[in-house]
Every structure is written in C-alpha cells, then in structure tokens.
Subunit: 338 residues, 4 copies
C-alpha cells in the first residue's frame, strides 16, 4: 500500500485509450490534429483565449515558461522550498541562462505579497544587483497548501504593479482546483497569472504536461525554446492525446477529487498530528520512528520527513488518482490505532 508519491502512479485507462487512438498516422511534431486542438481545448476549459503547448515534464515546462519571462541577467522570486529551487537539479539556471532564483519565505511554502516585497524591496535599482522580472507560485504548494483566488489575485496585483511576470507551477493544479471548487480561471487568468504549468503526470498522465499561456505572446518564444531544449517530440500526438484526455470530460478534476478525498480520510484520522493543513493530496504528519515502523510493518510505504521542531519524527503521505479507497481507509485506521 503505497503512499510514497503521486508521480509514479499508473496511467489512467482513458489516457491509454487516447494514446492508442493516436496511433493513426498524422503530421510530426505539433502539426497533428491533436496538438492543433490544444489551444481551443484549453481556451474552452479556462473560458478565455489562451495558447497551450505540451511538454514532457514539469521541470521543463516550468523552466521554459520562466525563461520566456526572465532575461539571463534577471531574477525570479519563488518560495525557498519551491520545486524549482529544491528539486529540479539546477534546471532554472540552465533554461534561464544563469538568471537567479530569489528566495522568499512563507508558511506552508506559500508566498504572500509581503514575503515577496521583503525580497524585492531591498534590491537597489542598479546594475550591481540582479533585478526581479517574475514571480513563480506553486499551486498546490510543496506542502499541499492551496492559494485561494483572492490570494493569487493579491500577488497578481503586486506583479502587475511592479512589472513582473507571474508563473504558476501547477504540478498539482488539479488538486488545488478540486479543493477550491472554483473555476480554474479564477486562480489563474483572472488573478493575473501569465503562464500556468498545468500538471497531468501526477494526475493520471504518462509523460505530458501542458503549458498554458494567458499571455499568448510568451508562447512564441517558448515554441523555439522547446525545440532548442530537445522537448519537441516528433510523435507529439501521443502527448497531445494525454493532455486532451485529461481535460476532456473533466477527468483531471475527477482524478484529483479521488486523490484529495483519500487524503482527507487519512487526514481526519491524523488529527493534530498534521502539521500542514491538508488541502490537496499530501499529508505531513508527526510520527515517531516507532510509529513509522509500526505502519510499515502493516505494509504501508511512505517517505520520512523532517519533523517540526520538538516533534519526535515525521512522515509524508501522498495519495494519487488511483489510491485504492480501501488502502486509504486502512491507513486511516492504522494511524488512529497508534
């Protein structure tokens, strides 16, 4: 019973079906019918005109987006624990040609206008210091926290006022929207987001994410950069198929709801052990080494985590679109029984 990560879950049957259907011959790269349908499909989904490009990984998607907004001599504000800072092996430095990540603090890996200002306000407007050109948010955050539309909009407003681009890393965007119950545009286009990394891989896809450009001019640069990064696959239709399967018929939300529901069931059982509010599909809990051992002995797999100060130990539990409800219930019970 695996609660290690959502990023290795099996591919959803409807995604498989869509991929198989893409076997029919068509044009290469993104000249095929499926790839060409993406702009319209995402414009419909968001209720606003946008451009969408498939790309195999979130790391590449995030970094291509940022590189379109930030010149090599610029910087981008992100949370100190953001994926782009912690877990992308220096990809932002590569894609942005040496531009700088400017690290802000915030509870639950969430940024606030104040936290961003604490980073950018002390920067002298001279050539000796790297100047900020963009902000990158993660929705849901590395700790499974979710920005409300109002929270994003306040940051969007700051970005606009300072002339900064706004990127959203939505590796778990579906989980966030499923939690909020809002229209996806409310936390993106309407809140000032310029580009969204719309995650599919953690949510039932195989190897395709979508970059959604509400500022459509940015896509023109990214088209060239995607090829230049070796990310323009010749059989792109198999990626487009995945992405379209995810958004058509709301599979993305159904999958996210399933993962979130499993997380909620477990979170209830954890009670005050939880140290980051559970809003998406990740649960961070205080668990002593002995308790962890007990759970593992019952067949539950999960990662150790850094415990909050004073706690005897901690773990991260992640649910996925295909988490067996019985497994979630079993884990909830096992934790209650500790």
């Amino acid at each position: 019973m695996k609660f290690l990560s959502d990023n290795t879950a099996a591919v959803h049957p409807r995604v498989w079906d869509a991929m198989r259907a893409a076997d029919a011959p068509d044009s290469g790269y993104d000249g095929d019918a499926l790839s060409r349908r993406m702009d319209e499909a995402f414009s419909d989904l968001f209720g606003t005109e946008c451009t969408a490009l498939w790309i195999a990984t979130g790391t590449a998607a995030n970094c291509l987006a940022l590189a379109a907004m930030v010149p090599p001599h610029g910087g981008v504000v992100c949370h100190r624990e953001a994926h782009i800072e912690m877990d992308e092996g220096g990809a932002p430095g590569f894609y942005m040609h040496g531009a700088k990540l400017m690290l802000a603090d915030g509870e639950g890996a969430k940024l606030t206008p104040q936290a961003i200002e604490r980073v950018i306000d002390p920067i002298r407007n001279d050539v000796h210091q790297v100047q900020p050109h963009a902000i990158s948010l993660t929705q849901a955050t590395e700790y499974g926290r979710v920005y409300t539309p109002e929270e994003v909009a306040r940051i969007g407003s700051l970005a606009q006022g300072r002339g900064l681009g706004l990127h959203m890393d939505g590796a778990r965007f579906a989980n966030a929207v499923a939690h909020l119950g809002c229209h996806p545009a409310e936390v993106t286009a309407q809140a000032g987001v310029d580009v969204l990394t719309f995650g599919c891989v953690k949510n039932g896809g195989m190897n395709a994410e979508a970059l959604v450009f509400f500022d459509m001019e940015l896509a023109d640069v990214v088209r060239y950069r995607r090829k230049r990064a070796g990310h323009l696959q010749s059989k792109g239709r198999y990626l487009a198929a995945q992405v379209l399967a995810m958004i058509e018929g709301d599979l993305w939300l159904d999958n996210a709801r399933a993962a979130n529901a499993a997380a909620q069931e477990i979170a209830q059982a954890c009670g005050s052990r939880v140290f980051h509010l559970v809003e998406a599909n990740e649960i961070f809990v205080v668990l002593s080494p002995a308790e962890q051992a007990t759970l593992r002995a019952q067949g539950f797999d999960f990662y150790d985590w850094t415990a909050p100060e004073g706690a005897p130990g901690a773990a991260r539990l992640v649910t996925a679109w295909n988490t067996d409800p019985d497994h979630a219930t079993a884990l909830a019970r096992a934790i209650s029984a500790l």
Copy 2:
C-alpha cells in the same frame, strides 16, 4: 501512401505491450526495474560493458552526449548538413553553453578523416580560436548513407590521436546496422565511438531513445544534465519499456530490415534517378515537377527536395518499419512507369 518521414510512424505493437506492462507500480525516475535493466541489456547487445540512459528525443540525447565531452569554450566537428547543425533549433548551443559546431564537408553527409583534418588543422592552438574537443558522426547520415566499420574506425583513430571524443548520432543506427549486417559493436565500441545515440523513435518507438556510453564516465555527468534539462521523466519506466522492447528479440533490426527492404525495392525502380546511394531507408531521386505531380495524383505523399545541379527537380522518399509492402511496390511501379 505516405513516404514523408519515418519519424511519425505508429508505435510497434510489441512496444505498446511493453509500455502497458510497465503500468504496474514501481519507483520513480530511473529507479524502476526496467530502467535498471538497461545497462545490462545494452552491454549484452554490444558485447561490451556499457551504460545506457533513456531520453525522450534524439535532439536531447545528441546534445547531452556532446555536452559531456565538450566544454563551453570548445567545439565539435560535424558535417555541414548534420542534424545537430541544421535541424535542432540551436540545441547544441544551448546544451553545450555556447560551444561551437565546426562544419566539415563530405559526400552524402559523410565525414572522412581528411575532411575533419581540413577543419581542425588550420586552427591555431591559441586562446583566440575555439579548439575542437569532439567529433560527431551520423549513422546513417542525413542522406541515408552508411559508414562501414573501417570508415568509422579511421575516424575513431583520428579522434584518439587528437584527443577528441567521438559521438555517433544513430537516429537511424538500426537501418545502418541492418544494411551492414555487422555486429553493432563493430561500428561503435570497437571503432572508437565513445557515446552512441541509439535511435528508437524512427524505428517503432514512441518517445524514447537510448544514450549508450562506451566511455562510461561520461554517463555520470549526463545523469545530472538530463535532470537539469527536464528530461528525467518521473515515470521513466514507460521509456525504459520502449527501449528494452526494441532491443530484446532484435525488434530493432527486424523493423530496420523491413524499412530498408522497402527502400531497396523503390530504389531499384528509380535506377539512375537516385543521387545518393540508397543504403538505409531514404531515397533521394530526381523527379521533375510534372513527375512529382503524377505520383502525388496517384496518392503518394513525399517531400520535395533540392535537386542536384542540372536536374529538373527532386524528392525525398522515406520508408518506415511499417511501410506497407504493397505501397512500396506500388510506388516502385509508379516510378518505373514515369
């Protein structure tokens, strides 16, 4: 009846099967059982110890390999019409951080030791000129020409003598080996090749190539760089599955033989129209605009090509692993009848 390119052909059923079988849960990135089997599988295939990494595209594979051999201030010798120079959207400059492609000439896009020396010998050994650090060959070339083991070995010998790395872009390596009928090591490891881009996508794969390192130390750098380039997919097992399916049971050779055979049948019919010796699965033929129109009217799709001097026009015909033999026969007859 499509003879446009092999890079959009459907995925082979055995590749599909292998991918479906990879749906079972396993570790992320390249920690799964399939990814961990790659070194051994390729070591068996080549009869020599090597390291193999999957990567989604040939462009990324080529450039990651080169970046491990060439420092940012260095250069790599390749043919003036090599894919890395002509068709990768500047990816070598990106991955190698500005290192330089040094362009050599040669019939059929083939390099020779002499052609390479004509490029590197005039370079003064001082800091004002970029120094060569590697050579990149394409097997088969952009014009479907194949290097014999002796030809590669002579270049390998030059590379070794000059302290240069040797990379082989094998997007159509299978077609070359199928043509040569040699052991794959004879044109690679035994001939001085340090890294091979082992192509699968044009040969029945979906979106996985393999980088095969005979100089295994280079792989250590590439592991980091692959992640840094956003090419370390979290569900890497679906890529490993494709690659393993290609090499296990010699599917790679069977597929290439089928493509080559179709090409030979068409080439026979083309006779003296052919202006690059047909050794793999590409046929370059003199065809006047009127002749092209005649063929297209019969349902044959192919690309116009730049005609040799004095010729009235030309076309490129490409076969693939799944080219219907009846289509190849039909095209051969239609050309004979012109």
Copy 3:
C-alpha cells in the same frame, strides 16, 4: 621596424594626459563626470542623439552589443572571416548564450545584401532552424576593406526589411572614416546601424572602446550585461578619459589618417603584389619566402599570411597611428627593390 599589428602600439600622449587628469577623485563605475559626458560627446560627434558606454575590449563590446539584439535561440549573420567568428575564442557563443553565427561569403570579407540573403533565405521559418535576428558588419574589414555609405545603407535597408538588428564592428572604424572622408553618421546612424563598436585601442588608446547605441533602448540591457560580464570597472573614469581624448579634437581621425597614409605609401610600392585593395591600414601582399626573408633581414617585422591561389607566399603589413614615416618609406623602398 614593426608592421605586425596596430593592436599593440603605444598609447597616444594625449590619451596619457587625459588618463592622468582622471586621477582626481570622482564617483565609481560610470558615475563620474567623464563617463557621464560620453553620451553628449558621441551625440555631438555623430550629430544625432545616441548613448555611449566604455568597455575595455572590442571582443566584449561586439558581443555585448549582439547579445542585446539576439536572443539565445537566435542567430546573427556575419562574414565567414569576421573577427567574431575567427578570433574571439567563442565569445559570441558565451555572451549570446549559445546563439549562432551564420556565415556569409564576400570578397575582402565584405558582406553584401545578396550574400546575406544567400544565408538567410534558405532558412525555413520554423522552430527546427535557428532564425536570424541581426547582421554584423566589420568596418574596415579584416582585410582592410571599407564599406561606402551606400553599401552600408543597402545592408541597413535589408536589415530593416527583414526585422534584423544591425551591428558594426568598428575596431578600425576610424581608418574607414578617414579613408571615406565622410561624416561618421553617414556610414552608421544614417545607414541603419543600430550599434557601433567604436574602436580606440588600435588607434592610440590603451584599453577602452566605446559602444555607441543609435538604438538607445539597447543600451539599457547592455548596462546590466556589462556589469554581469565583469566589465564595469570601478575606476571607469580612466576608460572614459581615453575615449573622450580620442574623439575630442578629432584625435581619432588624425591618428587614423597617419596610419592610412603610411599604408598607402607602402601599398604604392607593392603595386600588383597587393591582393586586397588597400583602403585602411592593412596591406596584404604576395611575397615569396625568399622575399620575406630579405625584408626581415633588413629589420622589418610582419606576419606571414595565406597566399592567394598560385602565389608563392604572402604577408600582412599593418601600420599604426605611430608608425614612423621613415620606417614606412624604408619598407616601401625595400619592397620596390625586391
């Protein structure tokens, strides 16, 4: 008697005087009075509003200018024998983050609209090929050839029509203008040049060139990039002093005229030995090894050069602002006497 290169000549006394005068305390970087006078001084010189920044070397100046016009995924057209391609150790690749030099041909290292079109017209407007974003000319060229105002204007017109930036490497701009006898704006601002590398070092300066921006917005990026490249010297006033000393009182033209006159005297003596029309301060002459030895035995220093086809040998003779007229006369006589 040295005719090796103009790039090691002594510093002109008036430049020394200006540097000494800069010893007085002032603000750091380019906040001092001298640096702040540069915009106005160059605007006066060119008769049009422009922005000017000092920079220690021509290589850095050229590459900073190009990097402001060309994105990392783009390219710049230059002559196959341009300094940026041949002699800058890969600096363009570094400064432009991997952007590509696109090499054109042309007699005497001069570009023409036709030669440029032969490079850019075959480039498909798709993401697989690097797209041109700028053109770089060298005035005078590597072979001492000079573009007339009309020739530059034709290229400027092409650049504008194609949406390309236009850079001029003017390491020997003074020699070119001295030869043409025109107003400096006629071959730059009025002919469509966006940025000029205004050379001083080869013309009596120590280590300061000026980047002159007729497209002044480009300077905003270059200010940041100059610092980022470690080229914003803290005692910038000593560089500004050099540049201002060169242009005030027309020292730049006086020095260039002296060098050109010496070259003309030698060229006259060379007669049909000359294989590049002598328009600036470089003379390329057919000289057999024996003749070279004869001259060297008489105390003349110069570089061997690649001989034109069929010629027994060749040499490059370069004069400088401080070439002793007696030395020039002596060399002219010695060549006549061969």
Copy 4:
C-alpha cells in the same frame, strides 16, 4: 574628505610609472615580457610555484576562477553577503553557465566549517539537487573581517575532505595580510586555497587584478575563458605593469598598511559604536541620522548603512591607500566629539 570607498582612489605613482614604462613596443595580449614575468613574480611572493593571470576586474576574476572549478550543473558555497552573491549583477550565473550559489551564514560575513556543513550536509546526493563543487571565501570579508590562517586551513581541510575546490576573493587581500602580519602563503597555498583573486584596484591599481592559481591546472581553462569573456586585452602589458608594480617592493603591503592604520585611528575614536571588529580598512559604526548630518556638515563623505537591530542608524567608513592621515585624524576627532 571622502570615506566612501577604496574602489575609486587614485592610481599610485609607482603604478603610473610602471604603466608609462610599458609604452615601449612589445607583443600583444599576454605575450609581452611583463605578462610573462607574472608567474615568477607571484611564485616568489608566495614562496611556492603558481601561475598568475591579470584580469581587469575582481568580478571577472572571481567568476573565471569559479567557472574553472564548478561545472554548469554544480554549485559553490559562499556567504549570504558575499560580493559574488550581492554585488556582481549575476556574473557568477553568467560565467558558470547557471551554476548555483549556495548561501551560508556567519558573523561578519565569515564562513566556518560548521556553517558550510549546514548548507551542504542536507543536500541529497542525487540528480534532483545541485551538488556543491567549490567554496568561495572573501578575505577580508565584506565587513572588513579577516580569516586567520587557522580559520582558512580548517575550511581548506573541509574542502579537501569533501572534494570541493577552494577559492578566495581577495579584493582586499592586502589589507587582510597587512592585518595578520603573516606570510601570504599561510592564508592561501598552505591553507588549501586553490585560486586567489589578488586584488590591486582597491589598493592603488587602476584596472588590473591578478588571479593566482596554486592549482595550476585550473589556469589552463581560465586562459581560454578569459579570452572568451573578452577580458584578454591586446595591450595586456599595461595590466601586467600594474600588478607587478604592486607586488614588487611590497607596495601592496605598504598601501594596505596605510589604509588599515587610518581605519584603526578612526575605529579607536568610534569605541563601542563599531559593530564589526575593525581588522582591515572598513569601519561599520552606529551613527544616528543627526550624527551623520553633523559629520557631513563638516565635510565628511560616507555611505549610510543598515543599522544593527535597535540602533538609531549606521554608516560605513572606508579608508584607502591614499587616505590623507589628517583627514583620518579629523574624522576620528569629529566622531569623538559627537
């Protein structure tokens, strides 16, 4: 009476003399007699074989050194307030092609082995996280603090144990050695430093620093990179002259001692106002806005500074090699009188 910065002070007369003497013709770039003398001169100075290259600015010198030790996918540990992080306009990202600065804490901008370990120990040894490849110290630090030989040696030992390179930014190295009274090798070569940026500009030079390589292999890469960065000046002899003038006859120490002495005199007067121990030529003092105004009204120029918590205000006072002792005394008295 200026106490703003040492980086704009006049050039020392002996440096001027050396530069004038370099006017005699010689080879270009670093082929001249002065440049060729640098290795020996620095080997003598440090009492150990080393290689030394001139370079115009400390920013370029630091970044070239780091780029020789750190691959683009790596990282370098430095203090959170190091010049390379705070004041070089992103130059490290440019020169290191996107490698990462890893920020450590420490009083007075000094690193300790413990502070470094707190940064590098949590880094998992996998491809998802950037791995450290070097450490960069600043001697004296941004706050005028000096590492003792033992302190450097402890960090050198850590570096060696972890396989990390060790770079020392010695923009104010002379002030540090003058303070320590030790042999310069004791805080560098003997303590495990691989490369030293030996500052001259702040200490009476015009625009030349020296990169001193105790790990001489690193110099081979830097030679190419210096050219590639546009920092190989053609009249390099004027830079070599500056550097040699600084170290010959111990001018570097004499100048530093003068600056340090002036700083000590002022520091004495400041008493408990001082909030960073004064060991070199910078004094950080608590001064209320009113006190600052009083001093400025008496003709003293200096920069405001961020005050320690609870303090009413602060200022930074910097002395230089040419600080008039009368000015220092006057400032000391004025502060005493506050």
